[in-house]
Symmetry: C2
Subunit: 391 residues, 2 copies
DNA sequence: CTCGTTATTTTCCGCTGTCAATGAAAGAAG
DNA sequence: CTTCTTTCATTGACAGCGGAAAATAACGAG
């Protein structure tokens, strides 16, 4: 993250302060005592940390009108004042840039899409800057400052340095995106891998709240996986992590562009499904929607392809569960539009391939509107804003 | 861990103290300044933490006779005084209990094996107690107290509670081993899964020193995997973690006792290899040593079995590397006696199946004398001794 | 013997978070 | 209507930790 202009920073007076703020942010309105319990601190520490945050407008206090106990002084709830600061999240896909304006609680206020003329860094950056400008105008209309910009890119991204090491999709190598975007927009910029960004959003604002270990599996154009272990998002040694897409599911399966056979991605990605459905039915389908249409119409060959895909995904998830013992697996992604076609197969394959108590892992799905990718980017910006030592 | 008798605890005056001690313990003799750098603390903090530890005899100071610089005050090296305390590690296998007596630096001083009459908790505990008694006598001879007992068991073990949840191998369920052993021996007891224990030993005293993410893969009677992520050993949600043995490598492969087909363990474990070599050569081999003998003699069918086994292991390791991006993978285990038979195949399969920069992961092997399993158990005891909040 | 240089120690000093005591805001009891 | 009881929140005193900077130590080179 780099901050070119002197934006007033988050008043994280103490390390406990940011921890307390994070607790309130992700676990919703809580009484001070409850915050103390969950953060493992004394009530006194919470009181002290909360006061300046309320003064600065980051937290607010409500009476707890809900579950009032029969006895004792009623608790007052502390919640994050979402309107205190805004954030922008940007995600570049192959042909579009998606941008969202969110509040501090990562709720999407405005979403915008702009078609992408070309994929080179300059074009993408120019288009992204345009999008950011539009969203900054929206923010101005709200009269709230934008405190950070998050950018999510697929591939090998070094978040600490803000550099895109290698993105096969965009054909980028060693692009110092954070620096460039910070110069262009004047905002503090956080850059991260797209799936990891989505995982951060789940960890703080989604189905991963409060869990110390979980996995996010995205099904769509590619098959991705974000991992949280020991309460932290995993970023492996060489930037690569969560490459579930190239777990071998069937050494005799179709050839994958990575050079191997039977990768999950070669069986269950949109592209693979289109190819296989075309081959199996003799109908030349153009995209995943058409392929799903055939399957929904009951065409046996197409249904068979989805069955195999679901099986592959289920096995891959079981592999993750066997290795890491996550408390939960969240299946998400654009591919979920056709989720009914593989849901059962995923469940069956997972149940079969999960070993021992790994089978107890809670596997659930979550629809993923396309804007969510950009929201993930915004979540990384929020994370960076709250604690500069993020991740 | 439970401590029945009041054994004088480790004087971890501060949280930084144990961190500093751990740094010196695993990174060998270091100057104070170097310790400060590696632990991310100030030199003053190191000086302060070191003094009482030297007074208590846990640390010692040497002149740095080695690389003396041309200029300035020569540094003095701080090292752990291994002789300050002893530890016992015990590992139960199918037919034998192995016990080691180690010093504080986890160097094996005495190793003992006792045949195991039966596998029920009472028999195992009785035999283990006998072994511990023998080792305590050895320790008495050295005039140093034994500060802890570590026990390693295969299966689902809850280290925090000291309970063996389920060990298929021993056919145990919910055995409160730590409590039982503490009552029997009067020592503070730590109980952990055997592969995790081995991983702790590598992390503190072996090839994992200083790495924040690595994997230990054991090849032998079973195929196991210990993982370190974010500098901590992974223990999944339901005790199960690192189940690399049941990663599916070939859905058309041989049936595994877990019910699936083509698990790594069904292809590369000792038992699987014996079975496959027997089938391929027509010779009824009795154990892994005979199987390896045939292969070493150049019998094609046997060599082929090892090739497939190496391939399966290499793919499984690649899966781990793709998912987690470890800095290193350490291959170990009794199966390494025949390592030359699959080494090349492991490397080839890994190189093929590792995706992108995951292929840069350093894959190395390490011979594993059988005593090492017990040493791993001792390492967990040392860890518990140093910081009660271990893991 | 004095300097320059690097390692270690000492001397403050501020910050953080805990403890224990106190205040506040109810409903309950009389 | 007053006083208790109960629970949540706040305050003040305090101790410990670790950092910064200054002081000290140990050596080789002039």
């Amino acid at each position: 993250m780099s901050s070119p202009t002197a934006v007033e920073p988050f008043p994280a007076h103490t390390s406990a302060a940011s921890q307390i703020f994070t607790t309130v942010l992700s676990q919703g309105p809580l009484t001070r005592l409850e915050v103390a319990r969950r953060a493992g601190l004394s009530a006194a520490a919470v009181t002290r940390a909360v006061r300046p945050l309320i003064e600065d407008g980051y937290l607010a206090e409500d009476a707890d009108e809900g579950a009032r106990p029969a006895l004792g002084r009623p608790a007052s709830l502390v919640r994050v004042n979402g309107g205190r600061a805004l954030f922008i999240g940007v995600k570049a896909t192959g042909d579009t840039i998606i941008g969202v304006l969110t509040d501090l609680r990562c709720r999407i206020l405005v979403a915008r899409h702009i078609p992408l003329p070309a994929r080179d860094p300059k074009s993408v950056l120019g288009t992204a800057a345009e999008l950011v400008r539009e969203l900054l105008i929206e923010a101005d209309g709200l009269g709230v400052r934008v405190a950070g910009l998050g950018m999510a890119v697929s591939g090998d991204v070094d978040r600490a340095e803000g550099v895109v090491r290698y993105s096969p999709f965009l054909e980028w190598r060693d692009v110092p995106l954070a620096e460039l975007a910070a110069m262009t927009t004047g905002l503090p910029v956080t850059v991260d891998n797209d799936v990891r960004a989505l995982t951060v959003a789940e960890q703080w604002f989604g189905a991963g709240v409060g869990l110390s270990g979980f996995a996010v599996v995205t099904v769509g154009a590619g098959i991705g996986c974000g991992l949280v272990v020991h309460g932290r998002v995993v970023a492996g040694a060489h930037g690569v992590a969560g490459e579930i897409g190239h777990v071998t599911v069937d050494p005799a399966g179709p050839r994958c562009h990575c050079g191997n056979r039977g990768c999950v991605e070669a069986i269950a990605s949109d592209e693979a499904i289109v190819r296989q459905v075309s081959a199996a039915t003799g109908v030349q389908v153009a995209d995943a929607v058409e392929a799903a249409g055939l399957a929904h119409d009951g065409v046996a060959g197409a249904r068979e392809v989805y069955a195999r895909a679901g099986d592959a995904i289920g096995r891959a998830i079981a592999t993750v569960a066997n290795l890491l013992g996550p408390e939960r697996v969240i299946i998400s992604g654009e591919g979920l539009a056709a989720y009914d076609l593989f849901a059962d197969h995923i469940r069956d394959a997972f149940a079969t391939a999960a070993f021992g108590s790994a089978a107890q892992c809670d596997v659930r799905t979550r629809p993923l509107p396309f804007d969510e990718w950009a929201r993930g980017a915004a979540a990384t910006a929020i994370q960076s804003f709250i604690r500069s030592d993020a991740n």
